[in-house]
Symmetry: C2
Subunit: 249 residues, 2 copies
């Protein structure tokens, strides 16, 4: 399998490119609107054709490139069925493996950051979205997020994967790129070791994070699989800037 | 390829198990004497037969299990030719790939921590020994170590690998298990970014590390591919404790 980890610096999002050497087909996990051209250039360089975009969840910090890439390449939009989006071409759910050439993806229902969140397991790697980050996890205070639910998703589902499974998160804000299930089980300060549920809930309650600055544009845009809403204030234009008028919703 | 990352807690060493699914043969990179039985149990569980042990260099902090495992399983001892050890069955060098079933290992001459140090590249992974650690590197003040040499090994050879290459170090003292070349290039505090040679040399000069407590036993023992020397003081017995009399040299 051809594999690339790509980085979108405005929202510190990792986009993952997975390509099948046999068929020349590729998919992107968590592609971000401002970097859709970079993603296509990478695919072109590798001689791959984009077949699908997948998102792990409805993002609140950026707009997915799913719709834009579909317009540009006729790729299909795959997304967790749990989110029940009308714009989706292919619904994903746990226990229903999704295959693209020789790539097999096993969706894993991992709610808690959002109520529809899924991780994707692919041959020794798990793309954990915002459920599990390196030494951290996504916040649980928006989009029907729920700390006890996230605790169970991480500890009962993700931590049940083999220890050497590589953890590829949707974000890192310190330049870290990869971890493993064994590493997170041992030293994730929020969810690792023998951390009890009550302590995790307390940690999440006390984070006192700022209101997400782009959420009021990102969520409605992502409910439409990647429309950049009108009226985005000037200081947030960089979240949409490269898309052109065609995607203004 | 079957892959396991194993940990030896006395010296905080990672031992890597690589197995070929087609032939059932396996090799171990940097196996450690006190955990030789654990390693064999792991191989047995996986239904693999140990064919080779490889060391990245002559270790100063632990004794290799190469000789003990050879005695127990008839495995062969592979080691960098640069170290010119009489006890070695198979000499490894850069530009001479070593194959075991479907596993192909490309040794990479990476001196600086020791003068004979090699990393091993295996299909998207690099086992970096003590040349490159996660957010760090091995010391350069013993065993013909040399900071400018290590700087060149890391930046010109290891950092020339594809960014998504997984970095598996020989040690970590904080429970981290895996990184990538892209991550280390971007954020290794000693060797990443645009760190100039002079600054790296200064960092290494100013580390003021203690004299390695086991070096006077480990180096002579490892020059014989893993003999536990006689006269190890009581407080260091845990480095040899599980080997029995047969390996007392």
């Amino acid at each position: 399998m051809i594999f690339r980890q790509l980085f979108e610096p405005v929202s510190s999002t990792y986009t993952y490119l997975l390509g099948c050497e046999d068929t020349g087909q590729a998919l992107l996990i968590d592609a971000v609107l401002p970097t859709w051209q970079r993603d296509l250039e990478e695919l072109n360089k590798l001689g791959l054709k984009l077949a699908y975009t997948l998102d792990t969840h409805i993002h609140a910090d950026h707009i997915t490139a799913a719709r834009k890439l579909k317009m540009e390449t006729a790729s299909r939009i795959a997304h967790p069925a749990a989110d029940n989006l009308a714009c989706v071409d292919m619904s994903l759910q746990e226990n229903k493996p999704f295959e693209l050439g020789s790539i097999r993806i096993d969706p894993l229902f991992t709610p808690g950051h959002t109520d529809g969140h899924h991780a994707y397991c692919v041959n020794g790697r798990v793309f954990t979205g915002d459920a599990l980050l390196i030494d951290g996890c996504g916040r649980t205070d928006f989009q029907n997020g729920d700390a006890p639910t996230l605790y169970r998703s991480v500890r009962e589902k993700l931590f049940a994967l083999p220890e050497d499974t590589l953890v590829y998160p949707a974000h890192d804000y310190k330049g870290r790129r990869v971890s493993s299930i064994g590493q997170e089980k041992a030293r994730n300060p929020r969810l690792g070791g023998d951390k009890p549920l009550a302590e995790f809930v307390k940690i999440m309650q006390e984070l006192k994070l700022a209101y997400p600055k782009f959420i009021d544009y990102a969520v409605p845009g992502n409910l439409k699989c990647g429309v950049c809403p009108t009226g985005v204030p000037e200081d947030l234009q960089q979240y949409c800037e490269q898309i052109g008028d065609s995607l203004q919703g």
